[in-house]
Assembly symmetry: C2
Homo-oligomer: 285 residues x 2
């Protein structure tokens, strides 16, 4: 059996009881390490599970999946995924390959940012499509996300923005020389995300959002020191959200009174927030 | 401390390790029983937790929240919610009331249908707003969901349809006479949902969807006997999805090749599905 097991959001104890039982009886345990991270090191997972954990990079899961699937028709193998197994990627290649090899697959679900973002007080019913923001480089500043946000905004919906992580990046020189040397991991902050968003708005000028759009920044959601802060993009630009991971929600115009009430609890500048709620969202106190 | 703990999708072992620890140290444990159900009886939860579980109906959580919060500044109290605490409702009233009483609140997240629906192979990034379908009655056949589906469809997005459950319904006579007698629980099936959807399309005729729209029906997601079936609405109309809970996804036109490949694995009529994929979604084999 191949178990694909969600680890949830924060630490080793966010695994479900069912997931933990599957890990404990697996002969090999892989940790998918490229779409998200837990807030604890691999060694803490190993101690808690009583199992070695093999870090699986993107190329292993996507191209060398037969390594993961080896003997899984006879023994149990677990692939651990931070969040839910179907959050950032559907692992379709791996599942389809397992089916071809007649290996049964069982998914054990868990929380992901996609549903836990409800902790902001914004209703999950009122979210449109989710977008990803990647680190801009000098030569690569893709802005296709802008059209997605605009589509959501046009019908008043919130947009969850997932922020880039780079955990196994090579410098161009090391890549050219085929040297397996990797840069330190980088995680996009709410602040950088807002900078990039405003740069693209400045270029496009179609008002998918402005610096006065209300947003909610979250960091380390699901952990004991999670931070949730609400304000306009301009207000949030200088707020320190601390350690990764960060995410950002752009608030749509169909904002409900009860959602606004919770946003006020998280306001970085209550008067400023109330002013924009009244002027741009039609919500009075 | 008030713990608001997601139970996940299926049975008593879908709780997280962290959630189970919180339950075990709580003096009172409530189970919110009106937005979703687990597939196991309350007694099985009680045996697994070693704790009595008090069923909390909507009126308790929303109007008598002080019962739940009693002494929670001094002792630990848990409110268990099927799925994730922020799935179907944000529990904002309860959280705001706790804050007023200076009671700390901690949320322990879990999977909900909102993210686990990724198990269909459809990418969570490509879902628009989620809608709810309620049981039609002779006099009440609300169709505001139709506009939401139409908005999603206009930009090519999938729509997750959550299906009504009635777990504590009174007959009009019993309600009039104030008799606490409740009807047997009812859970909307995929089949009834499709009937209602097609009835509304028949009335509105704006082609938000048609009987040839591709959809995915799911039941008991996350359990060992989950069912996932893909086909046109017409094809799925007579498919038996078995015991509750059921959900339905309408597939948007921005369907990706890889998503289509997974849908084929779940097809109830592969030739029919391929024909519609090619004709209406522009996806060839």
């Amino acid at each position: 059996m191949l178990y694909i097991i969600g680890l949830g959001l924060s630490d080793e104890r966010d695994i479900t009881v069912k997931g933990l039982e599957a890990v404990k009886k697996s002969e090999r345990v892989y940790l998918e390490a490229y779409t998200s991270i837990l807030m604890v090191p691999k060694e803490r997972l190993e101690a808690f599970y009583g199992r070695d954990v093999i870090v699986a990079h993107r190329e292993t899961v996507e191209s060398n999946s037969d390594d993961i699937l080896r003997d899984a028709d006879k023994i149990d193998v677990s692939l651990l995924v931070v969040g839910d197994p179907y959050g950032a990627t559907t692992h379709s290649d791996l599942v389809i390959r397992a089916h071809e090899l007649n290996i049964p697959v069982k998914t054990i679900h868990n929380a992901s940012i996609m549903n836990a973002v409800g902790a902001t007080g914004l209703q999950l019913y009122s979210f449109g499509q989710t977008i990803s923001l990647v680190f801009f480089t000098d030569s690569w500043r893709p802005d296709s996300f802008y059209d997605r946000i605009k589509e959501n905004a046009a019908i008043g919906l919130h947009t969850l923005c997932l922020l880039d992580i780079k955990v196994r990046e090579q410098s161009i020189e090391n890549m050219m020389r085929n040297r397996p040397i990797y840069e330190p991991p980088r995680y996009m902050s709410v602040n950088l995300a807002i900078e990039q968003l405003l740069e693209v708005e400045e270029n496009r000028k179609e008002k998918a959002y402005t610096e006065d759009t209300i947003a909610v920044g979250v960091s380390r959601l699901g952990s004991d020191d999670q931070v949730i802060k609400a304000g306009t993009l301009k207000q949030l630009l200088d707020v320190d959200f601390g350690q990764p991971l960060h995410s950002l929600v752009l608030v749509g115009s169909r904002l409900h009174l009860l959602e606004a009430e919770v946003l006020r609890e998280y306001a970085v500048d209550l008067d400023g927030l109330n002013l924009v709620l009244k002027r741009d969202y039609g919500i009075d106190k």
